[in-house]
Amino acid sequence: MKNNSGIAREKGTDLLQVRDLHVEGFSDERWHPIVRGVDLSLKRGEVLGLIGESGAGKSTIGLAAMGYTKPGCRITQGSVLFDGVDLLSMTEARRRRLRGSRIAYVAQSAAAWFNPAHRLLDQTVETAVAHGIASRDKANSDAIDLYRRLQLPEPESIGFRYPHQVSGGQLQRAMTAMAMACRPDLIVFDEPTTALDVTTQVEVLASIRRIVEDFNTAAIYVTHDLAVVAQMADRIMVLRHGQTVEEADTRQMLTAPAQEYTRTLWAVRKLAKPEVQTHDHILSIDNVTAAYAGRVKVLVDVSIKVPRGRTVAVVGESGSGKSTLARVVTGLLPAMSGSISFDAKPLPLSLKERSKDLLRRIQMIYQSPDSALNPRQTVEEIIARPLEFYLGLKGQQRDRRIAELMHMIEMDESFLDRLPGELSGGQKQRICLARALAANPELIICDEVTSALDQIVQEEMLTLLMRLQRELGVSYIFITHDIATVRAIADEVVVMHQGKVVEQGLKTEILTPPHAAYTELLLSSVPEMDPDWLTTLLARRKNQGIASAAG
């Protein structure tokens, strides 16, 4: 990896050379190009970062480097020379022998990529044993050693657990151990920390970086997050629409990107909204405690006030109770105790007790538009329903309003008879927004509405939301885990941790020190566009003795 760790790394001979790679994928009954003529080369012990938006073809290239394509894809052209041999022209049996032993893979979501039926240890050593590299016993003790190096807790016994019994961060490290089991020459990391909380991400990044350095393994690190890749890679290649945009050393890329496109990759970070303080509250949540049937309390004594026409950002990691808060406000999960008032009137806690008009005034938008939109309804049907249901609009009136709404979300009417499956992620999220707006709401709860989107799309979405707030005076509760998003949109910020409110107040108050301890941990864990950020952070934490928050 990078030399700044102090250990001199030997940059050896060429290990991997990809030439003029073309990959196609089959969808909508046609073959579409995914990768269009990409070249890359990698030396032994070198880490290459592949970065781009979704659809840029970065994961496909990562897999193609192993001579592999996902089902429904095919390599149509090019060569992949691994250690001088073309992976694409060799027999399947030979490729199989290389995979796992000399080239290994670490996937984004370890929970899905680990076989749920087998213990971690069995999966870790499987490659070594199957390829005849080590005996079962030797492989076992080596695996335990790897667990230890990766700072997994209880390295002796953790291997006897099943994947569902360990946390996401641990699983990601176990998968790294699995990839390391045969001491491969090359590991492809495919967004290994994207699904993790920021505080966990720091730990995993540190572990991965160390072990790759220790064994001098070459790596391809695929991610959409420039700040993350900056910590890991020696060189970065920016991809777009399956083609190389630019390629440069990490530092150079960060300080002086040659292409305008590269700059847009951190677009959201540039958004910043000046906050406005208001004392007219549309919603006030007082001492609310909530729990799912018979389980532990998910929200404990939470009080939050939402100013009219403004945005409250609720920040927290998974398990902090922020999504539960949304369910409590909508009445899907009636609070056990406490009260909620809306527009200065008490709001019935349960959905069933709320009038149709009350329901209309509070709308919600979800993180994943895929599951929030009925895949069997056209855009028109989706937007029209609230108009008919709440406002009783029919015929021309209805059509006119639909056109207005489409205009509001900056989409044209040709989309109206499409199905959600035919829209991009950003477009889908806009439809969700239009559906919420159709009800003429006063408060919209946005639950991680941008976190599934690419940076540029996120930026557009956030800008749209802010414009609508200016024009319509609608209030937002904006639930997110991303600090950049908070900076971009919030007036007030609520920090939540383990079902409790840690801190709340105006945005600038919260985001500038001094912080509460948890806020400090959260904020400091957000990667920055500085290749030395991780090294510095780890050193500082070591000094301060901050305990790792996530195991």
């Binding site: 897999l63 192993m66 592999y68 996902k70 089902p71 490729r95 199989r96 022998r97 290389l98 995979r99 796992g100 032993s101 290994a104 893979y105 996937a107 979501s109 899905a112 990529w113 680990f114 076989n115 749920p116 039926a117 087998h118 499987e126 490659t127 199957a130 390829h131 807790p153 209880e154 016994s157 953790i158 006897f160 657990r161 099943y162 569902h164 019994q165 360990v166 946390s167 641990q170 699995m178 195991g551």
Partner: protein, 368 residues
């Protein structure tokens, strides 16, 4: 904290004061409870159904020639003169003590208990079911796995089409066709059809027919039939049933495995350089057990509960025929007992399937 607790769970060590019922035990207890209720309701339904059927046992046996006094005398002897609700409660009272009661065919000094009537039949039914299952289940799983492994190959298509065809015919038709094969051993050579064929073809067909063992078309066994003869005599019904049930299980095995093959961890196994057979057997199959076991349990239940047609065709004395006979003669205690045996079989097999589903799923077996 969390990790430590999970570790102890994985090691199987006691979990401390907070009692956590083993998920398997919990399921078993819960399902057995529901099972008892189900049996109770089944007994009521069956009892009412027989009560609604025209005629009763006395009329059914005496039928044609009986004078009203004769019928009344017999009704009194077997207690049919009491109101149905009273009869039901006295029956269930005995049932609760494990007494299945006596068949209405009993007479003074000649008691035929339901248990002694059902026992040999149940043995026969179980014998046939086990014998068939021993062949059909491994065959179905094997074919399903191979079909999944070589999906869309000619082998896959062949297996699919053949099994599909066998379940597309009525059961009794399959049975008669098999019987025809056996008869053809002796008679094929003399038929007009054989004469119309070229000699070489007729000869080879005849040869093929004679390679088939001459299975008996009559599977009438009794309690004195020796074991291997029982196997021999039950061969034809067993083959028929195998043909009928293999398709379902095989197709489900294939579908479940192929379904698993689209999981990310299968991609992972491929990226780890595993051989296709290893991928199917070690990575896909363990996760596909639940649907496979469910469909296997369903078919095993069918082997016990639903084979009345095959029993009739091959004259195999199983519980199915017994129950039909008993319904015919309105022999309520026997019908009730058969229905309960069937229902219990169904419930138990489903329970076993559920237990296996839990046992093969670490998420359920070792909750966090």
């Amino acid at each position: 904290m969390l990790a430590k607790r999970a570790a102890r769970t994985a090691d199987g060590a006691p979990l401390g004061i907070r009692m956590r019922v083993n998920p398997v035990a919990k399921t078993v207890l819960q399902r057995l409870g529901f099972g008892l209720i189900t049996l109770f309701v089944v007994s009521i339904i069956i009892f009412s159904a027989i009560a609604m059927l025209p005629g009763d046992f006395a009329k059914a046996t005496l039928g044609q020639s009986a004078t009203p006094e004769t019928v009344a005398a017999l009704q009194h002897e077997i207690g049919l003169d009491r109101p149905p609700i009273q009869r039901y409660f006295s029956w269930i009272g005995k049932m609760a003590q494990g007494d299945f009661g006596s068949s209405f065919a009993s007479r003074t000094g000649y008691r035929r208990t339901v248990a002694e009537i059902i026992a040999p039949r149940l043995y026969n039914t179980m014998f046939l079911a086990v014998m068939t299952a021993l062949v059909a289940v491994p065959l179905a799983l094997g074919l399903g796995i191979l079909a999944a492994l070589y999906r869309n190959s000619w082998f896959d298509r062949l297996v699919n089409t053949v099994t599909l065809t066998t379940i597309s015919f009525p059961e009794f038709f399959v049975a008669y066709m098999l019987a025809f094969l056996i008869i053809s051993r002796d008679t094929f050579a003399g038929t007009q059809f054989a004469e119309s064929l070229p000699v070489w073809l007729a000869v080879s067909i005849n040869w093929t027919l004679n390679v088939v063992p001459k299975f008996p078309t009559l599977a009438n066994i009794n309690d004195q039939t020796p074991f291997w003869e029982h196997v021999w005599r039950a061969a034809m019904p067993s083959i028929t049933l195998t043909l009928v049930i293999v398709a379902h299980m095989m197709r489900m095995t294939r579908a479940a495995i192929i379904n698993m093959l689209s999981s990310p961890y299968i991609d992972m196994a491929r990226l780890k350089g595993m051989r296709p057979m290893v991928i199917v057997l070690r990575h896909a199959l363990p996760n596909a057990w639940a649907p496979i076991v469910t469909v296997v349990a369903f078919n095993l239940a069918y082997l016990i509960v639903g084979v009345v047609v095959v029993e009739v065709v091959f004259v195999y004395p199983g519980v199915g025929q017994l129950m039909v006979d008993a319904v015919k003669s309105r022999d309520v205690p026997v019908v009730q007992a058969c229905a309960l045996v069937f229902a219990a079989t169904y419930i138990l097999l489903n329970l076993i399937a559920d237990i296996i589903s839990i046992a093969t799923n670490p998420r359920l077996l070792h909750p966090r």
